[in-house]
Structure formats: structure tokens, C-alpha cells
Amino acid sequence: MRRTVGVAVASAAVVLMAGCGGGGPQSGGDQKLTGDKIVLGVLNDQSGAYSELSGRNSVKAVEMAIADFKAKHGDAAVTKDITVETADHQNKPDVANSKAAEMYDRKGVDIILDVPTSSAALKVADVAKEKKKLYFNIGAATTELTGKSCNKYTFHYAYDTYMLANGTGKVTTQQVGKNWYILYPNYAFGQDMEKSFSAAITAAGGQVVGKDGAPFPNTSGDYSTYLLKAPGLNPKPQVLGTMQAGAELVNVVKQYNEFKLRDKGVGLAVGLMFITDIHSLTPAALAGTTYTDAWYWNFDQENRAFADRFQKETGTRPSFAHAANYSAAMQYLEAVQAAGTDDADTVVKGLEGKEINDVFLRNGKIRAEDHRVIHDAYLAQVKPQAEVTEPWDYVKVLETIPAAEAFAAPSPDCKL
């Protein structure tokens, strides 16, 4: 008998406590969160070509941001119920389209993050506009997201083709050589990259002496025709600019080394490269190659501290996309905290024009005109093998490109 009463009292106490804890708004007044919680959606490639540079580790980065946000705000946090939904878009625009709609409509997602592959990203931007829900793109490169396909609910976070071409094209032309031969995969991304690079090279006083669109996907895996052609062009190119990505980039670089083009006076510049690519090619294969990086894990103490925590969670060092996912999730949560609501229009108003400095964004600013998030970018060079002193520390940063110069001015095509 006594025992029953004890249990009853304990139960009552628990119910009361729960009631106090969860009951109604605390200080701060009318908090309005749909479903009393925040749901972050990470939509990316979890099994294909981009699953290493984004993939599940992007989800981990977002989870780290949630933990940090909760630790920072404690009881004052707008809510403690913050969860992550995730889906694999397989780099297919149609899959991305339906998964995004499902996330917003059925999973209660407030914001979609990541989304590599430009064609998929453009679809998600359309869905965000239609559903009036937020979308922070990180993984895709196309400038169209802040150009003619821009919209009120879409923000472009980490990098774009202009940033890559502007940094690498300009500085390589000035420092390595004026004559370029460009090799690009013949589809939307590659063609965009070729145009951006040609423009940047010409603007820096260089010239493109030859360019070729290689088949995409290149089923034979062979690039020797182009690599043999390059040194024989007139005038002779001093730089081979390759716009291939992922496994195709690996093929190009392996064969570039096989034909010893560096010894023949043709340097290498890479359009888009992630730290994971350097890891798989080994720094020896890429030594001396310049490229533009949006963030590097061993750039300073703050980055390194984040990279150490990330490595504890995942066993690997973060790519810039991982760090950007962390930052984007954090900045969104802060914006909701400041607004006191997850209402998309209110949050957008708070984000526009905001200046931010965090582990990923240095001198960052969210442009109100086109929702491009500008920040410092970095011109990086792969170290010679002899200078690599620890795993994953493969590059040195040659130059910081100030935020204002790193990205293109807002496009007149963008009407928010």
C-alpha cells in the first residue's frame, strides 16, 4: 500500500515538473515555432560521387551546430527541440525536387541545407520559393542561384563558379603564365566553369590558346589525346586548367603526371578541388597545383579547433562544405533565436544585410540584393610531399582574397 502511494506521488511530481518545464512561453513573450520545434533538413548525395565531400559528414556538421547552439543558449534557447531530417538526392534533379517537397510538407522541415550538384540545387530553389520555406545552398556551384533563378527564400552560402575562376584564373595568370589550355567536362557545370575561367584569364591579361570539352561522363577514362595536344599548341600554354571534378579530376591528374607535362613546362591549375580529392590523389601527384578554396581546416587556430572536434566525430578532416554546413545551420538557428519565430519571412528579414564572423565566414555578409553570402576566399597551393608533416595537411594558403573581391557584384538578372 505504502509503495503504491509512493509511486503515485512520484508520478504526480514528474507530471507537474514536466508541466512546469514545457508549459507555455518563458521570458521573451510570444514564441511562435511551428510544432514547437525546429527541423533542419540536410539534402545531399549520400552514396555517389559527392558523398565524401558532403554526404553524411555534412549531417554530422549540422548536428555539431545544434549541440553548440544548445550549449550556448541553455535555457534561453528558443527551443530545445531541434532535430535533423536527411535524405539522399542521388545527384538527380527530379529526386531532389520530390525529396525537398516531402521535407517541407511532411517532415516539417524549416530549412534545407547543402544540396550539391547544380541542376539539383536549382530544383530545390524552385521548391523553396513555392513553399515559402528557407533554403541555404552550400554544395552547388552555379551562379544562377543568385542570378536569374534567385528568390527570396534561397541563400547561396559557400562558393560559386565565379569565386573559383576569379581566384585561380587571375592569380595563376599573373604568377604562373599567361597562356592557358582549358579542359572541361562537356556539360552544364563544365561549360559554366570554362566561361568563368576564360573571362577571368582575359581580364588578368592572359589568353586561352586552346580549349576542349571532353565527353561527360568520360567512359573510356582516357584524357591522353588532350594532354598530348596541349604542349604542342602555338603559342605553347604554360597552364593546363582542368575543370573536371571528383573521379574524372583524379583521372586527368594521374595522366597529367604520366605524360610529365610539368617537366614540359605546362603547369596545372584545377577549377574545383576539395581536400578529399587531394587525399585520394596524394599531395605528391598534385604538388604545386593552385586552386581556390572557400575554407581550409588548418588555416588558423579557430579552424583547427573545429577540425579537431570534427575529426573526433567522423574520423576525418572537414572539407569546406562540411564547415559551411556547420556555419549555415548555426547562423539559421541564431536568426530564429533573434527573431523569436521560425516564420520564414521574418527570419529572411533578419538575415538580409547581416554581417557575420564565425568559424567558416570571415568578413562574411549576407547580401540583401541577391542573397549571396560573401566572405573571404583563399588561394591555395598543394605542398610538395616533403613539406607535408601530418595527414590531411596538404595545402598552404598563398593569399586571402577579400570578401568584396572574391564574389561577383550582384547580378542584374536577380529580382528577389
Binding site: 582516357d222 573521379a247 605528391a284
Partner: protein, 293 residues
């Protein structure tokens, strides 16, 4: 002229891979009437095996060149006994689907352990220089691949034409119903021939590791072209598959070099050739037109 020779040489090197893979497909199809869709996956396993042996056990390229084909050949024989054998009596479509499923399983097993990122594999130091041919110089490793592949093809040709095993295989390929009637135990040779075909794929994979991206999908990209090669050469024709392999390598290299202003043409040229050949000779260039067995 120099450029033409270089492109020709490169075409032959690409062709060497097609020839080795197509040769394996051809002997397997000839003997078992199985279109082995998993051939690309075994090619991938050959390259990945070489990478794992080197990075985790320090086994050099030369040893991998022996170990991987042998190991994969045995695995192939085990698979033939365990599953493929059971479906050979049924419509060929069953084994096609089975090997397609096997491809997905093998790819995903490698993916789940090593990820999709390409793995590094350096060219063996003895072959890392280049050979001077007077008019042009060429990477030693590519010269080696070409020489080695030609050697393997000649050896296979010798075995098929000069030995008793070869006679049985050719007889079983050309007259599958008549051969057993002469009291020849064809069944005995089915499993080793399947293993041999797989070993050739593994060999091509090891050869590819130093010059191609080593990742779980490397075979899936290549196998489509190899199927086109086999169809052009004539399904089951051993000489045809080798000739078409080198031929397609050349066509691709020349197409990329001289039709680069028409990317659509240079990208699809293999399949254009396939379509033309099928219209002209439906059984392929070296295939025999006869009612299917």
C-alpha cells in the same frame, strides 16, 4: 605525323583494356552462353585489390599482377558453382539479371568499406619513365600495358588453337550441342573457363590501377563500351572481340583528336559504329550467322 602516331598509340593502349575485358566476356559467353554483366565489377575488384594489397600489406604491383587474377579467378569459379551454374538451363536473361545483381552487391560492398572517393595507386617505379621512339616519347607504363596485353592475347590464342583444352572450348563454342555427342565432357571445362574469363578482368583491373581513378564505379563506366565492343566483334567470337577491342580504342582516340569540334560525334562514335556494324552484319564483324543454340 607525330601527333597522329601518338594518338594511334594511345588508342591502342585504351584498346588493350577493351580487348582484355572483351576476350574474357567472349570465352565466357562462348562456353556458358552467359552474358556476364558483372565483368566490370571484377575489373574494379582487380584494381581495388591491388590498392588494398599495396596500402595494407605492402604487396608491390608485380605481385598483385599475379595474386589478383588468381584470386579473382578462384572467386569466379566459386560463384559459377554456387549460383550461375544453377541458372544456365534457363533463359539467358536469368543469368544476365543475376550478374547484374552481383555487380550492384560487389560495388556496394566496396563502397561501404572504402567510400566512393578514388584511392591512390602509384605507377611502379621501374615503369615510371618514358621511352623515346625518335619521333615522340611515350610513358613507359603505357608501352608496358600494350606489350603485356598483346602477349596475353597471343597466349590465349595459342592455347585455343594449339592445345586440347582450346579445341574443346572452340568446339563447345561453335557447336554446343554436337560436341558432347562426340563423347567430350564439356561440363568439366565450364567452371575453369568462367574463372579464366574473370581472371582476365581482374588482370585488366590491376593494369588500370596506376593510370585510372580507382573507385567502386570504375567498372560500371567502362563495361558499357566493352559490351559495344563485344557486339561489334561478334558475340562469342574470340578473335572478333580482341580485334574490335583494339579497333574501338583507335576509333575513340582518333575521334577525340580529330573530331573535337563536334563533341557529340566524338562522344557517341562507338555506338554509331556499333549501329552501322549491326545493320551491315547483324552477327557482328566476326560473328557467325546461325540460329542461336
Amino acid at each position: 605525323m607525330t601527333g597522329f602516331l601518338q594518338n594511334t598509340f594511345n588508342g591502342l593502349v585504351s584498346g588493350a583494356f577493351y580487348a582484355l575485358l572483351a576476350l574474357g566476356l567472349a570465352v565466357i559467353f562462348g562456353m556458358l552462353r552467359v552474358v556476364n554483366f558483372a565483368h566490370g565489377a571484377f575489373y574494379m575488384l582487380g584494381a581495388f585489390g591491388a590498392y588494398v594489397l599495396l596500402s595494407e600489406a605492402g604487396v608491390p604491383f608485380w605481385a598483385a599482377l599475379v595474386i589478383m587474377p588468381l584470386g579473382l579467378g578462384l572467386l569466379g569459379m566459386a560463384l559459377e558453382r554456387a549460383v550461375i551454374h544453377r541458372l544456365t538451363r534457363l533463359d539467358p536473361l536469368y543469368n544476365f539479371l543475376l550478374t547484374f545483381g552481383l555487380t550492384l552487391i560487389l560495388q556496394d560492398l566496396v563502397k561501404s568499406r572504402y567510400g566512393v572517393q578514388s584511392s591512390p595507386y602509384a605507377t611502379p617505379s621501374a615503369l615510371s619513365g618514358s621511352v623515346d621512339f625518335g619521333l615522340f616519347d611515350f610513358p613507359t607504363y603505357r608501352v608496358f600495358i600494350l606489350g603485356f596485353a598483346v602477349l596475353v592475347c597471343v597466349a590465349v590464342w595459342w592455347v585455343l588453337t594449339r592445345t586440347r583444352v582450346g579445341m574443346v572450348v572452340r568446339a563447345a563454342t561453335e557447336r554446343p550441342e554436337l560436341t558432347p555427342a562426340f563423347g567430350i565432357n564439356v561440363g568439366r571445362w565450364v567452371t575453369p573457363v568462367f574463372g579464366f574469363g574473370i581472371a582476365l578482368a581482374g588482370l585488366a583491373g590491376v593494369l588500370a590501377a596506376p593510370m585510372r581513378a580507382v573507385n567502386p564505379l570504375m567498372g560500371a563506366d567502362l563495361i558499357i563500351v566493352v559490351f559495344a565492343v563485344v557486339v561489334i566483334g561478334g558475340l562469342g567470337s574470340i578473335f572478333g572481340s580482341v580485334a574490335a577491342g583494339f579497333g574501338i580504342g583507335l576509333v575513340q582516340a582518333w575521334g577525340e583528336a580529330y573530331l573535337s569540334d563536334f563533341p557529340i560525334v566524338s562522344q557517341t562514335i562507338v555506338f554509331v559504329v556499333m549501329a552501322v556494324v549491326l545493320l551491315w552484319r547483324p552477327a557482328g564483324l566476326f560473328g557467325r550467322e546461325e540460329a542461336p543454340a
